[in-house]
Amino acid sequence: MAASSDRNPPPFPAAEDPEPGLVDPADGDSDEGEDIFVSKTNPVSVSRGVSQPDRGAEDPPDLFSEEEEASSTTAKSNGVHSDDDSDLFAEAHMELNTDKPGSSAKKELSASSGPRSTSTSTQSPAAMQPTSLEQLEEEEAKDSFDVDVAITNPEKVGDGMNAYVAYKVSTRTSLTMFRSKTFSVRRRFSDFLGLYEKLSVKQSLHGCIIPLPPEKSVVGMTKVKVGMDDPSSVEFVERRRAALERYLQRVVCHPSLLQDADVREFLERDDLPRALNTQALSGAGFLKMINKASDAVNKMTIKMNESDTWFEDKFQEVEAEEQQLRKLHAVVDSLVNHRKDLCGNTAVFAKSMAMLGNSEDNTALSRALSQLAEVEDKMEQLHQEQAASDFFIFAELLSDYIRLLGAVRGCFDQRMRAWQRWQEAQSTLQKKREAEAKLLWANKPEKLQQAKEDITEWESRVTQYERDFDRIGMTVRKEVLRFEKEKAKDFKSQIMKYLEAMLQSQQRLIKFWEAFLPEAKAIA
């Protein structure tokens, strides 16, 4: 491994440590790293992600500029040059380094932007305490994203039961942390699931809302594997492709997640190791199920005394909304089915009309009936498109958000668990103190030392957990606000799109009937 990819703990701001080998956010010890920064960092525009050029101005110059310089001095083959200023996102010259193995180049990139992301995304919530929520919201409003992902070209690879569908994931970005401006890789469904697994393990502990990938479907996939080229398999693949695209777009829109090395690796790395824990019937799968069950039990037994009613209110809101969306989704589903029926029935009717037109012996009427049959044929086309629009724009939007709301609830659960940990630590501390008191009374000095050490340890743990809890609370609040904004934006844009599609459909309908009317009038 190259020296530059050594994982050193992040240097103190004062130290002129030239080592750019900063901790990967992916690294487990990033949590410890954050503690070092807590006192030092000023409230920075928090985990807002990566795309604001003005961020440089807001950064505390001491912390980041040094790292900038540090990284620039040692970043030899690294394409990312931030040598001009503290603005990490100056237009970078992206040259993909092919001689370096993908992973270490990755590490370097993440290394240079690592400290920023680690520090900002993980510790800033704590440092954020002085900042008010309003300021938060204001800053959120200045978001702009510079990453665009698209998923195209689903292709079946392989044969038989081992076949899978590979999708082309193309990214277009102007962010400097990527190796180039546009690039694409091929990924399969389990890769997406793997990414989700990695992210949820890391980030959910902090209270982030992780977007959810589309669900597995054994039936759907088997059909595709077996090689049936029928319309339902095609639809299945298309549905999955669209869902994966939405999933990925949501991931890159999330400021903290975009910083995550796993995400970048996913987008850039040509050869991703296969995610093995995502198979439904694997050992990991079972473990997950068991964990979920135990979590559910835990939830039932914990009763948290809520000091902040915001959380309770929000939680209920989320639950109510989820229910409403489910109802709406069921109706939209029914609409999709009825439209598909209408489609089929219209096609059949059109044929029948054509036959009738053939038998009709009055020529003008016969022609008119044939024309009617054609109009109905075109209507069938319209209905088909409308049904697709119903489904892909409306129904999928709803199902996405139903699951996302579930993820939001998950966040709240994380916070609850953090509270639980804190409470448990407090009770342990209490016990230790009692133990110490007992020892004092029993006058056993040798054990007293141990007891005192225990107490100090647990005292620090209690403070740690309390801080964690507060931090998670902040993150959850922030995330929920961000989520709600996203949701409002998403719903509005999607529904408008849906209405536009309806509008187009009506316009074409008008054209069809206008063409038919003179034919009908011409019947003599």
Binding site: Q324, V331, L335, L342, A488, F491, K492, Q507, F516, A524
Partner: protein
Amino acid sequence: MMEKYNRRVKAADVTTPQSSQYGFLTGLSPQSTLPNFKQNEFSVVRQHEEFIWLHDSFVENEEYAGYIIPPAPPRPDFDASREKLQKLGEGEGSMTKEEFTKMKQELEAEYLAIFKKTVAMHEVFLCRVAAHPVLRKDLNFHVFLEYNQDLSVRGKNKKEKLEDFFKNVVKSADGVLVAGVKDVDDFFEHEKTFLLEYHNRVKDASAKSDRMIRSHKNAADDINRIASSLYTLGTQDSTDLCKFFLKVSELFEKTRKIEARVAADEDLKLADLLKYYLRESQAAKDLLYRRSRALVDYENANKALDKARAKNRDVLQAETSQQLCCHKFEKISESAKQELIDFKTRRVAAFRKNLVELAELELKHAKGNLQLLQSCLGVLKGNT
């Protein structure tokens, strides 16, 4: 002289639909007096059974063998509506008050629409009879229109229904035999083949149009529920998004009404048209059958006459019989030709009228929808 009837058919108060026991007023006011009508304007209440009785009396009348008997109006069918009402009642607990009242109103409107349609179809039957130069003079018809008491027409009892059934079986078997007889007359030969094919295709088209329109109605119903659901979402809060939902819900309410009207109009102009011509083409087929039957009888009578002449026995009887058959056959043939030509003219005219109206209505509704969508999108875009 074609007398025009100014027909007023008013629906009587029907509060609960009991299968065939519904009555309605037929207000008939002939504008010019017919000598055999006792008054100028009169109205009676008639039940569906009585219409069937009238129709059957035409069919059974030998004198009318050469005419296309206007098809009987179909039985009023409120079953589907009643079922839906029942289901609604059962599901009352699972939906909000607004949803329930809304759906109830919908069903009541649907019920009313079906009722109106049924009444209209009965009226069409009577108008057809009144427009026919011969049938309108029928005594039964006059009794039907004038006799202001119950005609005491009972529905067929089991025995009669069984008789009818057998009669139909015999008739269709006979029809097959008779149909095999090749007609010398080109006109009738052509008509036979044409009607057979046409009838089958109309039957097919009618069934398929029904299915299509039902899907359309279902989709409109769904849009109704979507509107309600969006409304609930919109009333949760007063955020921007909620206001958005409310606006969209309003839009869907309106478009749904239009969609429902589109389905109803398609039903009226297309499905009903096809159904009607299904029945008329059947009646025309029946006419052809009767004529073929008469032809076969005529040919048989000819053969019998030849045989009688050969044996020189019962010649007079055979001659009379042959004369009768010949006369009957020729009479039928003559009127049948005219009837079939009229049928074609009527058919073309009806199709023209309905297709034009259908196209115009479709356009009207689509434009309405378009306008709604445009204005809503305009408002929504302006707000965001």
